[in-house]
């Protein structure tokens, strides 16, 4: 990638948001907690964030979630849309180390734990700080409700982003060939 927001990143953002949107709207796995579901889309946003960086990550989750809300509910629930974006954005800070390694076909325990660390930080920050605070500021929701929802969302989304994100990164890395992997046949 030559510039900060290259054509490749723009296209990745657009298509990433399309995948996010489709999964977010149609592919939900029911969770053990009633009336909630695991959003597989967060696995995709954390994967793209880890490869294309914070801005792409933010836009993918933000656009995907906002469109999904527009179509599902008529109007986006902005506080959660922004929180989705923030979660992916913070995960994107892992891209500095993860992206070059993955493009070289490398995704070992070191990268995995680094990725999972950022996923955990991202989801805690987004769902325990950003979403509840915005809910209170923008929508004057009762404090208790938003924090209970926040805890559930943080736990479930961290699990989905962590598991699916690392499975996808591993799979993508294995399609790339690293430096110096060719050897001459004698």
């Amino acid at each position: 990638m030559n510039s900060k927001f290259s054509t490749r990143t723009i296209v990745a953002t657009g298509l990433g948001a399309a995948v996010f949107f489709v999964l977010f709207t149609y592919v939900k796995v029911p969770s053990p907690i009633p009336e909630t579901s695991l959003q597989t889309a967060y696995g995709v946003s954390s994967f793209f964030a880890a490869i294309f960086g914070p801005l792409a990550g933010f836009l993918i989750a933000f656009i995907g979630h906002a469109l999904s809300d527009f179509i599902g509910y008529g109007s986006p629930w902005w506080s959660w849309v922004i929180a989705s974006g923030v979660a992916a954005m913070i995960t994107g800070f892992a891209a500095g180390k993860i992206a070059p390694a993955v493009e070289e076909g490398e995704f070992s325990t070191k990268e995995l734990s680094y990725f999972l660390l950022w996923v955990a930080v991202a989801n805690v920050a987004a769902w325990l700080v950003v979403a509840p605070v915005l809910d209170i500021v923008m929508y004057a929701e009762p404090v208790k409700t938003v924090f209970v929802q926040g805890i559930a969302a943080a736990a479930m989304d961290a699990i989905v982003s962590g598991i699916l994100g690392s499975v996808l990164l591993k799979a993508y890395a294995s399609t790339k060939t690293g430096k110096g992997t060719l050897s001459r046949d004698n």
């Binding site: 657009g14 298509l15 399309a18 053990p32 009336e35 695991l38 836009l59 008529g74 209970v148 399609t175």
Partner: protein, 277 residues
């Protein structure tokens, strides 16, 4: 997978004739007005306006039926949840207590709580027709150009128009891969456990993401070859010039926002309208 929900219809009504830019600006102004108020009088006024817009745009009930069902479930869930967590939030806000009856323990039903929750319900309900009449009457590529019109970088707008262009393709890919995996014997029904189902989703996601990554290379190469991103500005094929009706509707929306702020700061002196004192 049903993708029929998102059906932009090309009609010739007042709302359709407005440019995407002015519709976006109006939508943002009016939703901000709603967001910043808890006064049921203001909310009801905007609700009436937004239902009028639905009528004017000739949006049919069958286009939005599914959406309304989702919204109904969401609102009912939110209504119950609010009550369960904070049964006396209304009392806290309005400072008085008119007890109607008590279920048990802390679960009292007060006029204040009912008033608060009904206001909140109306608050959510009022923006929905606005969103619907915006999204169903705006051409998707004009939508991207209108975002550029309010000052968002054209690179981000390109990303958005790519999303709108490619999500049906992605959905189709998803279906194809899902069918292929089922043909290989992976069961997709809802019977299995959560971890099993996550595994199955992963078995679809991996090929889907690989296809997407290939497609990203293809599209970005094609765009680079055509010199995309060389200049600081871009023009949009689908941008429509603003007409008198556009300026009028933007000014009206702005006045509504100012009016709602005036009610909040000059009449109520708080976010809430208090009929109890």
């Amino acid at each position: 997978m049903k993708l029929k929900v998102f059906s932009y219809s090309r009609l010739d009504t007042f709302v359709h004739r407005l440019s995407g830019l002015s519709k976006l600006v109006c939508f943002l102004l009016l939703t901000t007005a709603i967001m910043l108020t808890y006064d049921i009088r203001v909310i009801l006024a905007i609700t009436v306006l937004s239902f009028v817009m639905i009528r004017v745009a000739k949006i049919q009930f069958k286009q939005i039926r599914l959406m309304l069902i989702y919204v109904g479930i969401f609102l009912a869930f939110n209504f119950v949840l609010t009550y369960l967590f904070e049964p006396e939030y209304g009392v806290k806000i309005y400072g008085t207590k008119h007890l109607l009856f008590t279920f048990f323990g802390p679960y009292t039903v007060t006029l204040e709580q009912l008033f608060y929750q009904i206001t909140k319900l109306m608050k959510y309900l009022s923006v929905i027709p606005l969103g619907i009449s915006f999204i169903l009457t705006t051409n998707p590529s004009e939508f991207a150009s209108s975002l550029n019109g309010i000052g968002i970088s054209y690179r981000i707008c390109t990303a958005l128009s790519l999303t709108l262009r490619y999500f049906p393709d992605v959905a189709q890919d998803y279906n194809t891969i899902s069918l292929a995996q089922q043909a290989r014997g992976i069961e997709m029904s809802g019977k299995a456990k959560m971890t099993e189902r996550l595994k199955r989703v992963a078995s679809i996601l991996i090929p889907l993401i690989m296809t997407t990554m290939d497609r990203i290379e293809l599209i970005s190469n094609a765009m680079d070859l055509r010199g995309y991103g060389k200049n600081k500005k871009r023009t949009w094929y689908s941008r429509r010039p603003l007409k008198k009706a556009d300026y009028v509707s933007m000014i009206v929306s702005l006045l509504i926002l100012i009016g709602s702020l005036y009610v909040r700061f000059a009449i109520n002196h708080s976010m809430f309208y208090n009929p109890f004192v």
